[in-house]
Amino acid sequence: MCALNIGPSPRVKPADDGFIYNDFAFTVATKNGSGSQTSNNTLVYALFKMGIPVNGKNLFPSNIKGLPTWYTIRASKDGYTARKAVTEICIAFNQDTAAEDISKLPPGGVCILPSEWNWGHSREDVIYYEIPVKDLVKTVDINPDFRDRISNMVYVGAVAELFDIPQDKIYAALLDSFKGKTKPADMNMNVVKAAAEWARENLEKQDPYKFAPLNLNGDKIVITGNESAALGAIFGGVSVVAWYPITPSTSLVDAIMGYQYLRRDPDNGKETVAVIQAEDEIAAIGMLVGAGWAGARAMTSTSGPGISLMAEFTGLAYYAEIPLVIWDITRMGPSTGLPTRTSQGDLIFTYFLGHGDSRQLILLPGTVEECFEFGWRAFDIAEAQQTPVFVLSDLDIGMNNWMAEPFQYPSEPLNRGKVLNAEELQQHIEKFGTWGRYKDVDGDAVGYRTLPGTNHPRAAYFLRGTGHNEMAVYSERADDWVQNMQRLHRKFENARTLLPTPIEVWDKAAPKRIGIVTFGSNEDAIREARDWLAQDGVESDYLRVRGLPLHPDVAEFIASHEHVIVIENNFDGQLNQVINVDMEQRPPRKTSLTLGDSLPMTPEWVYEQVTAVVS
């Protein structure tokens, strides 16, 4: 079954010469494990190097080898990078799904497929380009062991010829894929050249789609969210990483290990980042709790099932006030769900994670740039607030390649929070007469902590998950309990203005009638849909939430709009529910639009849904 949604065709206009330049999309249908990743990345990077805004999304099964997988590549001269509901070109390289893949093409769509299938032209309104894949690969002098995997480069060559991608861009992309190694790049390029030559001699172009250099990408980079988050953590001073592998978060820690060299102590060549593969997620967060208590910048990355195992320790860390950072690269649940598909379904579970009255601080990156920024900033917030900080990304951001502006070097020095060394502790005691770990001496609800190893006779305190008073002494007194919980509640409320502010697009002096609220990776689809809606005369304001608890601006935005539409990629409208809980006053009209189909949101879906709501 094809995983792609089909909706109305996008608004694309041909140029004066009748061709459509840089504004169409491919679906590459292959079998998982067939080696198509290199081919697809090569196309994406080649287009990127032509200066064409591009985005690639891998829609893959939870399987090592054999099941159908789709990769969508979208080029957009206008810079839109959301997944399109309709792709004009289908590279049908998986015979099992070819019939359905072809059936999803719009009228006038293009199908590229192996001629040895003898497929036949099942649709009259589709343009077919058939390529002798096996024969072509045989003509190239390559090791027979690589023949199967490299055969996907045939469609790269055909696409380059049919749609005008210069071969030097293809080769440059291959060099990137193979980290500058010319031997594998050359081997793949030979297949590309053979296929391009065959296409030039044997295929007649019948479709209207073409690429042309645009030079719109400037200094931009192409990177996944998980790699961005890893870089953010490395530049954020992470010192202890404990984790248990789980899709789609694994590549984040893989990337941290890949960047460990950046943090190797130049004086002695030793590591300043410890990475421990734990026996499970409970152990992983237990290690973070120990490390955070002892003064490390500790983090993990996981997904929903891992978050569930971390619940008890999260409650302890919240209550005992231990800083640590948890990245949740959300996938489709509940339970194992669709483990390699995207979702925004962990919001409520994470927000209230822990027993009793606990709520967690959450950062919500919506771009790879924010994955980098929140990668370092999360530690500053965790240590300043002495509490766990969750960062909820998702599979779409985390595992797919995105174009991004070059990341900004951290704008602020490391914030290690209120940590007293021996000398400062002595000064503190002299100033206040005493030191209590959970005493709120500054009125910000955050106490001063000492780290194990502090050489002062009064530095030690006993950390516990059981009831304690402000001196960290065991207490089951009701008044001690209430006082502590009230302080924790104040701390939580203060965080509203300490977390990243929302992204807002509106004129406060003249708000539009409709206000759209969202979070995370939906940004691109909504941006494009808002442009379409505006063309229809439906103007809207926009706000993307970037942290929980909600910033006061969110309440102001919601209160300022006649009709608020909350758009999110989960089934239950979880952000909408959080708004209901967090806001004292309900807005006059609020609509929850939820997708939750396991795929990245499309502008077509947003456009249709909003149009239906406002009309």
Binding site: E271, A296, L414
Partner: protein, 350 residues
């Protein structure tokens, strides 16, 4: 520090009183309090700096005890059975700390069994004390995983399952220091603790510590009277501090059991001197250690002493090749690479 010259002080000028913690809230006569006292004595005798020690535990009666010793050390009462992961994180963050952790048989043998085994595998540097009474005290008397097979308890009937031997699991799991003792043998407990705290790596001491409230029937191998009647020390054990030159000690006569004395040198120069008591047990022989534990279980004997010892393998921090400065003490300059480094990385994504 004592102002009274008649009160004994240790090498760093502190009294034994200075090593105490809060008042125990355990049942009067609990073996765990005796163990806490030996931790206090050990730290006092060795002149340990309390600020360099972290004390941790899970949940349970035993896990309450860190509050009762070393009041000037940072303490952490974690969650049930998951103390091993917390110690792992803490000692990774700061490998200069000495970790002393107390766990129970429910904590270690059931809910935390996985973490226990993985801690051993990683060789996290710490003293891991198990206060083993074969019963859940805080939840009022359920069988634990170390309870005797066929034992009967008032509310829970007869235990049909075989017990887990946590010392045997430690030997098999890769611990390089495994001891068993009895809380009623204060002298031996203290000597073992002195050796354990000087061990580089995980040092496990499984101490049978009778529960006076829920499991002190004479039929239980975890009862006080059974321990007293059936304890079989493998050797007399004496800890000799590094650099200490003993005066005339026991005469060492080769092949003259049972009074032969063997010495096990710990890293850093400390020595454990073991005087055999009728069993030909060499703690450096892994198969012999396993055999001794198997025989003891079969015969219903509580063997005590240093059961297994081997030259420490690299600790977790050493395995990970961590910087000599503890991670928690790294300055900002070592934690954040330069702006130029970021530019170079980003260039690779164009």
């Amino acid at each position: 520090m004592s102002a009274n010259p008649r009160i004994k002080t240790n090498p760093i000028g502190l009294t034994r009183e200075d090593y105490k913690g809060g008042k125990s809230t355990l049942c009067p006569g609990c073996g765990h309090d005796s163990i806490s006292n030996q931790i206090i004595s050990m730290a006092f005798d060795l002149g340990l700096e309390q600020y360099k020690i972290i004390k941790l535990s899970g949940i349970g009666c035993s896990s309450k005890t860190p509050a009762y010793f070393l009041g000037r050390s940072h303490g952490f009462n974690a969650i049930h059975g998951r103390m091993p992961s917390v110690v792992t994180g803490a000692t990774t963050a700061n490998h200069s700390l000495t970790a002393i952790a107390v766990s129970g048989d429910g904590d270690t043998g059931s809910i935390g069994f996985g973490q226990y085994k993985h801690l051993l595998r990683r060789n996290v540097p710490m003293v891991y004390i198990i206060e083993n009474n074969g019963v859940y005290g805080l939840t009022k008397g359920q069988f634990s995983a170390t309870a005797d097979q066929d034992q009967t308890l008032k509310y829970y009937g007869t235990n049909t399952l075989r017990p887990i031997d946590l010392a045997l699991e430690a030997v098999i799991g890769g611990a390089t220091f495994v001891a068993r003792s009895f809380s009623g043998d204060a002298k031996q407990v203290e000597a073992l603790m002195k050796a354990a705290v000087n061990h580089r790596g995980t040092a496990v001491i499984d101490i049978v510590s009778p529960c006076v409230t829920f499991n002190n029937e004479i039929t239980s191998t975890k009862s006080y009277s059974y321990g007293k009647a059936n304890e079989m020390p493998l050797h007399e054990i004496r800890y000799v501090a590094p650099g200490y030159v003993p005066e005339k000690e026991e005469i060492v006569i080769e092949d003259y059991d049972p009074n032969e004395v063997i010495e096990v040198e710990l890293h850093g120069g400390a020595i454990v001197r073991l005087k055999k008591l009728g069993r030909d047990h060499d703690p450096r022989n892994k198969m012999q250690a396993i055999q001794a534990l198997e025989d003891a279980e079969r015969d219903g004997i509580l063997i005590t002493g240093l059961i297994y010892y081997e030259e420490p393998r690299p600790t977790l921090a050493e395995t990970m090749h961590l910087t000599d400065t503890p991670l928690s003490a790294l300055p900002a300059g070592k934690l954040r690479p330069s702006e130029d480094a970021l530019k170079k990385v980003l260039a690779s994504f164009r």
